[in-house]
Point group: C2
Chain length 263, copies 2
């Protein structure tokens, strides 16, 4: 990828500028719309931040394509060439209700392989970053490879939809087999907790490429496994039921706790 | 209560000193024991911090009794006089597994009524404090009364035990009726999220007086309702199934989502 050092500096600058926009909005009236249902929200701030990234990327890297949550990027049928994956606000429900526990996520893929991943926890001022084969960092401090803790000895994060399911007890079964369930409500931040060894697994009900892109680069750089829940590779062109976990917890969850229909 | 100004300053000093002890332990090998089961833990740090508070209180307020989680305080059959309620580390499982999302909690009751309540989020350096009829504060900044948001429009925190129950779907029903479930794993920190309007309710499966004492003083000062899940007053001499919530969410949850056996 060309201009890598400059590219990394630009992305950091853009993320911090976008974070300022998100925080400034706390003093404004924001416009909230429902997308697929009343808990799937989008605000004018999500849209403005996505637009901000698109303008910056177009100005500096006009030949590269952009896959963004709010749909103002390009349409995709393949992942050839360099693709930017943007989640302007991950955890929009938290952004609206808590003004806390939301993240800005950016990643850069080349021919379907993740090269750069950024998750910025805005309210904690924690920037998680990884570059393929170059390690992962929290605010420029190297992160250690994650210990391979088994499910029984660790905490797990599981999405609201799976934990409250009326028809499927699998997620709760995993929770009962673990040390305990935690639910943050941001795929990015839940992934950073696995990446720092706080949790041994995070299971997402239906994650889009922009929910996954950055976290996958960071997680894999730290020895974690990030796949679909059935063990297949992530498909960056569709929604995925996901697991990111230590190798032990990943294996145990797939082997013991996923209904046959999932396999 | 005598020496109120001095008492408040002492408590703050002790909490910060105790927090330093908890953080220093991250560089040491800590001794972890199971209490009632493998997810109910106690460490030597919980015990040392409780002992630290007991020594300080005995030195400054020798006539006052102490109710502490780790049992090194007094035995109680009533709440007459001044009673200190101490949770040296709330969220011990988080302390051990995440080194994050745990709190030090202190409260002072007189004849069963809470007068002072402190919840210190150690890793975020956030000290929540309330004094009966004198308001509640976060790091000395006054907190606003909480808006009376209904269940449908808010996030709720629910304990692991209730969310993963095999036999009772009530908790999940509440989750589905809300905007979403969040699980932090510290009764104190979940209560501070209700106290700052981030959540509309927190439901605890089986909270002891030391899990409740400080949070109840803070919550009530901000217009929230803190009771047993069946609506009865908290009993500070036993374990309680609890709810702390906005008035609207409290009413709705009690009326619509608690099985008849609970009422």
């Amino acid at each position: 990828m060309n201009q890598l050092t400059k590219r990394k500096q630009l992305i950091k600058d853009w993320i911090y500028e976008a974070a300022d926009k998100s925080k400034q909005s706390f003093n404004q009236t924001i416009n909230i719309e429902e997308k697929t249902n009343r808990t799937d929200l989008v605000t004018n701030i999500d849209k403005e931040i996505e637009q901000f990234f698109i303008e910056k990327i177009n100005a500096h890297f006009p030949d590269e394509r952009i896959l963004g949550e709010e749909g103002s990027g390009h349409q995709f049928t393949d992942l050839k060439g360099v693709v930017w994956v943007i989640d302007p606000i991950d955890g929009t429900l938290n952004f609206v209700k808590q003004q806390y526990d939301f993240a800005i996520m950016v990643s850069v893929y080349k021919d379907g392989v993740g090269y750069l991943g950024y998750i910025y926890d805005v309210m904690k001022n924690e920037l998680y970053f990884a570059s393929k084969n170059q390690g992962a960092y929290l605010n420029d401090k190297p992160l250690k490879k994650v210990e391979d803790t088994p499910l029984r000895e660790g905490l797990v994060a599981i999405s609201h939809r799976l934990m409250t399911s009326k028809i499927n007890d699998d997620a709760r079964e995993i929770g009962r087999a673990s040390s305990g369930v935690r639910m943050i409500g941001s795929a990015g931040l839940e992934t950073t907790r696995v990446a720092t060894g706080k949790l041994v697994a995070y299971i997402g009900a239906s994650l889009a490429p922009w929910d996954i892109g950055a976290g996958k680069v960071i997680a894999e750089e730290l020895g974690l496994i990030y796949t679909q829940l059935n063990g297949e590779e992530i498909d960056m062109l569709k929604y995925n039921k996901t697991i990111v976990a230590t190798p032990s917890a990943h294996k145990e969850i797939r082997m013991n706790y996923i209904s046959k229909t999932e396999k």
